[in-house]
Amino acid sequence: MKVSELLQALELEVHCAGNGEADVFCGVVGDLLSFVMGHAPEGATWVTIQNHVNVAAVAVLREIPLILLSDGRKPAPELVERCRSETLALASSPLSAFELCGKLYGLGLKG
């Protein structure tokens, strides 16, 4: 699934559109940055409540094209800025991480 398709399919507040053509095959959920750093599969979307700039660093290094902030968390301005400069997609949702992951799974993304 393309990042742009995923952003359209869910009711999200999009902060950065990123690379809409990037493929997303699967997902990872977690708020411990070293866990995501060590375990994120290739082509994953990342669901987290962490909303600070270091999230972008992990996403860049693990080639995560789409970051989804759950539970109504809004990104820090520095995170939006970094995502923009790194062409990462960043969006937030009022849904809990559990519900958001359920929707992503329903769209065909696997763990």
Partner: protein, 147 residues
């Protein structure tokens, strides 16, 4: 043997805004050198975790990456407080990070285990009150691509 290609950068204490930028430049260099994506992934994890250790624990320091056709050697040096018990620090889940850092999703005691898991060899030389030098090596042995 040819002289290694070297990437070196300074890491500032508590600079969470810049954290990860140095690791990003290492990743870009390895890509430019045509390294295999699995090797780049391992090197990115090691450099990022080492960089964060310098930010959080080491009081800042220097990260140096030496690249040859045979291996990638990642050396992190600081003049911070040192690690009293390296064996304990290597245990998954053990961390001395303060609460404010944990709330950001760091300090889960996964950094050094992540480095070890992605290294072919790892050594940590630390003296309390003097500092810490970490050396992690990824052997390329025909899988790294051209340098």
């Amino acid at each position: 043997m040819a002289a290694p290609y070297v990437v070196e950068f300074e890491v500032e204490k508590d600079d969470f805004l810049a954290a990860g930028e140095g690791s990003g430049s290492v990743k870009d260099t390895l890509k430019m050198l045509g390294m295999h994506s699995a090797i780049i992934r391992r090197a990115a994890i090691i450099t990022y975790e080492a960089e964060m250790n310098l930010v959080i624990h080491g009081g800042g320091g220097v990260l140096k990456v030496l690249i040859t056709p045979e291996r990638i050697e990642i050396v992190s040096s600081d003049e911070g407080p040192g690690i009293p018990d390296v064996e304990m620090a290597m245990r998954e889940g053990f961390s001395t990070a303060p609460d404010r850092v944990r709330e950001m999703g760091f300090g889960a005691g996964m950094g050094l285990p992540n480095i070890k898991r992605n290294s072919d060899s790892l050594s940590i030389d630390s003296t309390v009150g003097v500092g810490t030098t970490l050396r992690a090596v990824i052997e390329l042995a025909g899988q790294g691509g051209s340098v």
